[in-house]
Symmetry: C2
Subunit: 458 residues, 2 copies
């Protein structure tokens, strides 16, 4: 890999215009780290292309010069996915942030990659439609697709990969291709769409995407229930899904998390594992019947507390503590940093995973809160640390949980992607398939210029 030369900078400036390139330290520092604890790295230059062709041209120039290119949405990733660890070009898609076309009758929208999904959804609300994946932080569509972001409502609506139909992608050698189709049914040749979704900018740069949209549900209900054990909470998850109730969110928090919310928010969750649920329906009557069934399931499994509502204001109140739990945690631990780890397993082994996490936290004397998208078997353990020693211990907990998740038939990452942090686990999880991933990388990016240092163990 080569360093960026002044000559290349001049060619990039000529390509994009002086306003769309910066070598200023302040800009480079603004693009040096994501929201994770992974250490920052300064890129040599920050670029803001405004067209797909410019993105392709930047890649061609960088490829010819063997200079690294790291794509950047808005920097909300959690595993260092968009940190330019080899320097070179930081390619910000922030100025390609337009909705190009709303295909309302097709329940689709075509957008540029730099649009933040909450901003897009605010506009789409006018059409009664929304893009369902919801990672929380106001990530860009390009970043969500590149990391296959998911979130709370994935249990009903799927992850980013399930809500995209077609993309335009710039390849490392400067070709601009389209993958997928605006047809929702597709069996025409290889599924290149999903080759690029989740590839974290290491195979190509997404320059445009047509997304699948969902009608905004007419009615929503909420349930919060506390269970005597993780096992009982998981039994409830299985029973609720098995009953065909099709929850739109099925969130888990552990005792430590519940205790924190009880204390800080004045809620009464008990010091027990808690499930937060949401249901969507076209009719209020469906929700009412559903809540009866959910209550019966929860009662039979010994739920100590059960609150349910079909009222919008009440629903928001019930979920308030869950939605604000991260900021509550930050406020409560002003001297700590928080490492949010992410694994996912088949739901039947969720209790075993939680037990492993609990043991590892105790063994390493690390303070941690567990929160998870239980409907998907996804769990995040929020690991507190404040110095080098506690960071090392938090990382030991992380290792124990990730290793166990893979042993249990799960994955090292359900929604944060591999980035920097999950590279050490790729061989354990994928075995010989990791060689196939390497071959794919070599086929599409033979010079290794795209987001180098990510996904693959060194």
């Amino acid at each position: 890999m080569n360093r960026l030369t002044n000559d290349l900078i001049e060619r990039l400036r000529a390509l994009l215009g002086a306003d769309h390139l910066s070598v200023a330290l302040a800009e480079r520092e603004l693009h040096a780290r994501d929201q994770s604890a992974h250490p920052p790295h300064l890129p040599d230059v920050v670029l803001w292309p405004t067209t797909a062709q410019q993105v392709a041209d930047v890649l061609r120039l960088a490829n010819d010069a063997r200079v690294p290119v790291t794509p950047w949405g808005v920097g909300t990733s959690l595993e260092g996915n968009c940190v330019a660890v080899r320097g070179g070009i930081l390619l910000s898609l922030a100025r390609m942030n337009q909705i190009l076309r709303v295909h309302a009758d097709d329940f689709q929208v075509t957008v540029q990659p730099g649009i933040p999904y909450k901003d897009m959804n605010a506009e789409l609300a006018k059409y009664g439609l929304f893009f369902a994946p919801d990672p929380g932080a106001n990530a860009t569509i390009g970043g969500m697709l590149a990391n296959n972001a998911a979130g709370i409502r994935t249990v009903k609506y799927g992850a980013s990969k399930d809500n995209v139909l077609r993309m335009q992608v710039a390849l490392a050698d400067g070709r601009l291709i389209h993958v997928g189709s605006r047809s929702v049914k597709q069996s025409s040749g290889y599924d290149l769409l999903h080759v690029f979704v989740g590839s974290e900018g290491t195979l190509g740069v997404i320059t445009e995407a047509t997304l699948k949209l969902t009608p905004i549900p007419a009615y929503m209900s909420a349930v919060v229930a506390s269970f005597p054990s993780v096992e009982k909470a998981v039994e409830a998850v299985v029973a609720i899904r098995g009953s065909g109730l099709d929850p739109a969110a099925l969130e888990f928090i552990d005792e430590a998390h519940a205790r924190m919310l009880n204390h800080e928010e004045g809620v009464d969750l008990g010091e027990q594992p808690v499930l937060f649920m949401e249901f969507h329906a076209a009719y209020e009557e469906t929700l009412r019947l559903g809540l009866e069934a959910v209550q019966q399931i929860c009662d039979e499994l010994g739920a100590s507390r059960f609150r349910a509502t079909t009222d919008n204001a009440e629903r928001k109140k019930l979920w308030h503590a869950r939605h604000h739990s991260y900021e509550i945690m930050v406020r409560l631990h002003p001297n700590d940093k928080i490492y949010i780890m992410d694994v996912a397993v088949p739901i039947s082994v969720y209790p075993a995973l939680i037990a492993c996490a609990r043991e590892a936290l105790a063994a390493e004397n690390v303070k941690g809160y567990m929160i998870g998208h239980a409907g998907d078997g996804n769990v995040h353990v929020e690991l507190l640390h404040h110095d080098a020693d506690s960071y090392q211990r938090a990382m030991a907990v992380n290792r124990a949980i990730v290793t166990r998740a893979i042993e249990l038939g799960g994955t090292a990452t359900g929604e944060h992607g591999v980035g920097l942090g999950k590279r050490p686990y790729m061989a354990q999880e994928h075995g010989a398939a990791l060689d196939v991933m390497r071959a794919l990388k070599h086929t599409l990016d033979p010079n290794g210029i795209l987001n180098p240092g990510k996904i693959f163990p060194e």
Copy 2:
């Protein structure tokens, strides 16, 4: 590509056992064609491996000898996808047809590829679960995954690609890898799972699959409604989907098809475009409310006939004509063959596609019936032909419709795959991405032994 030698046959016999290999003409003829009109080709040998390792070993031997291998499920494909057009080895997965494990609490099942999906679903019914994609013919799971088969209920439950989590795959060089994970949320490295799904046996052979299952719905309703025009029928599709009613099936037939069913089945559909619908719910009350809403939508759009029911027996009667329409057509045209073509477009341009089909049928004087999964924008035109001339004219109609579908932003195939018949359209549909598909093929199957002659234009 080399011919099969006696030496290789002996090595294959030693590997599999004499009972699992045949060079008999009768067996070769049984594996020479699928259910399409594409001409048969005799393979040189038929193999029935019984383990994944045997599949991998067969591929290694074939790869070393540069002999073609064409995987085979049960031969129900519709574009010649499993026809051994270069001879060589026909690899039947028919004897790898076991359910390996039902993960009931995870809503998953792990199976061998040769199990027919209807047989599998009969067993899974004991657990209250089913695999949702339903291509109609009793295809094998391996074949469905290899072709990304879909069917009637895709509008709610997705295609095969949306209902698979993990596979074991044998590669051309004899490596056996696993792709995906039993975790429903996955963002760990490249999505190799979807590289192999829909690759029609040209990149690897699926030797095991873990499928996503759905609880069998407690209640189902049916609606049949006739509309004054295709435009009005499509408006109904959009309005029903937009209302959040989440139909489980939304099927279209054209006037010609309706006329045939009226005459042969004694049903009263009118000689108009007709929509057949199905809705699934956990509560009968939800269905009742849904039917009211659907009726209102259909009334407003001028539906001349509307029948709806939540009764099971009545529902089956309403759908009977639709489910049996293919055999009715065959009976009605004893001297004709039927070429079932398959394209899909965004629903907003469905009327334009149907108009194009109608014009092409008239221009070429070809008798055709249209039937489609309108909820997905998918249409099949069933083209009748009886001699070389009428076959050529039917193919001209096919070309006109496929070309138009691609122009309209759709795809050359929504669910039948490329096989032999759709190769000529790959460049038009995919442009430069076709080169990327070729590169992927070369990476995974450098000697081109896997199902040669498919997907790529010559």
